[in-house]
Amino acid sequence: MITKLHGWHLRAGARMVDFGGWDMPVQYETGPREEHVRVREAAGLFDIDHMGRLEIAGPGAQDFLQRVQTWDVSRLAVGRAHYSMLLNEAGGILDDIFIYHRPRSWLLVVNASNAPKDKAWLESHARGFDVTIQDRSPDTCLVALQGPAARDVLQLMCPEIDLARVGFHHIVECPLAGAPSILCTSGYTGEPGYEMLLPAENCEAMWSAILSAGASHRLIPCGLAARDSLRAEACLPLYGNEIDETTDPLSAGLARAAVSLEGHDFTGRKALAALALNRPKQVMIGFEMEEPGVPRHGYPIAVDGRTVGRVTTGLFSPSTGKYLGMGYVEVPRAVVGEKVGIVIREAVKTARIRKRPFYTSPHWR
């Protein structure tokens, strides 16, 4: 599958890679490290059109959402957005999602590889609710503008609204280059920025217009490699790495961010409540390599020759100059400051558990 910006990427000389069935730019000629640094220092533009957009509408939409996802949306005002999850009955994570509360509907932004599964699962749970579930991915285009200069870049294109007054996880509508667009102050990099729903028909023209408007602010297009290292420094989970159907939001350390345990009765709640009482056996931790080496997804974490966990993500972190990683570790070992071993090609290299996130942007204002 390809996004609406695929042709642009090819013409720009992007290096393409398969990502869950999507042919996506992993990097442009600039290269992953420089693209990463640019987002931390200035701004980067990402094609995230592969992510799914499902619109839930109808008189029963809110009741339906309360049943199928973890965040109590009765407290989510129109014009706000929030992180949430779809769980199975056992509390396993079917997907992590973003919910936009629109004036007459709700928009779920879901992971690309999970979109068909999510839609089928939502439909199978819709019986008895007066709702419609519509895939809005074909008629919109989703891009992300991220970095400390993101607001200044967007302000040039959207003079009607004072973007400094738009709070975090707020949604505003603004015509960008004359095309009606929906902006949400959110992102996946740890920097301030926007995820933007553009009309599908002039997606490429708008992408180019944003890049032109941002040129004086050093804006560049960025690929999936930079997106991954940026989100990893911010310790944001990636579905398939940190979370999947065999993991739950409590063990993943995401309950506070994504789950309202008091209140609505959602699928998976009973299982989570039981897990909260018994305490998870493994929990998510962050670690820093004390001996150099690149931890990778699936590498064992060991203490005294015994496996006590596994790496979910590892990287060389351009912002900190350190080799860092995340992973699940048995609860007694999951303590900040604790020394653990990361098994890299049969050699055990020393790492130390450290506080997450690894990087906090100084640019939140």
């Binding site: 290096r15 992993v26 490290r33 080496g293 990778r296 060389f316 090609r345």
Partner: protein
């Protein structure tokens, strides 16, 4: 994509190069290889004294994407390691034929370099990829 080709080295099919200086062979990876790897973030060099066998995996280069094995283009014992790569692995990207060299080995069979490609032959190979 335009790649650089150094005329003074000989190349393996797996994109390593060798430059013989006296009885010692300097080993690195080609510009094509570093480009395909993307940003190099870690190089796991073999220990000094280790005997490398031509055609076998002898070290690992980690890029942002993955861990890739480097195959010894010639046989011999490691006499020097590029220690600069520990702090600056990106030298492999920036200067693959110069400061981004990997190891130096004493050639156990100098004739092995005869089976490696010259720059013209290697360029032809890269053009087919």
């Amino acid at each position: 994509m335009e790649y650089r080709f150094d005329d003074k080295v000989r190349y393996s099919k797996t994109h390593e190069w060798v430059r013989v200086e006296g009885g010692v062979a300097v080993v690195g990876i080609s510009d094509y290889a570093q480009n395909k790897l993307s940003d190099v973030v870690f190089v796991e060099l073999p220990a000094a004294g280790k005997e490398l066998r031509a055609g076998t995996a002898c070290m690992v280069i980690e890029s942002v994407k993955a861990a890739e094995e480097v195959f010894a283009p010639v046989s011999g014992a490691v006499v020097a390691r590029n220690e600069k790569l520990e702090k600056a692995p990106e030298l492999v990207n920036k200067d693959p034929f110069g400061d981004g060299w990997l190891v130096k080995v004493t050639l156990s069979d100098p004739r092995e370099t005869d089976s490696l490609m010259d720059a013209a032959a290697y360029r032809k190979l890269v053009e087919t990829l």
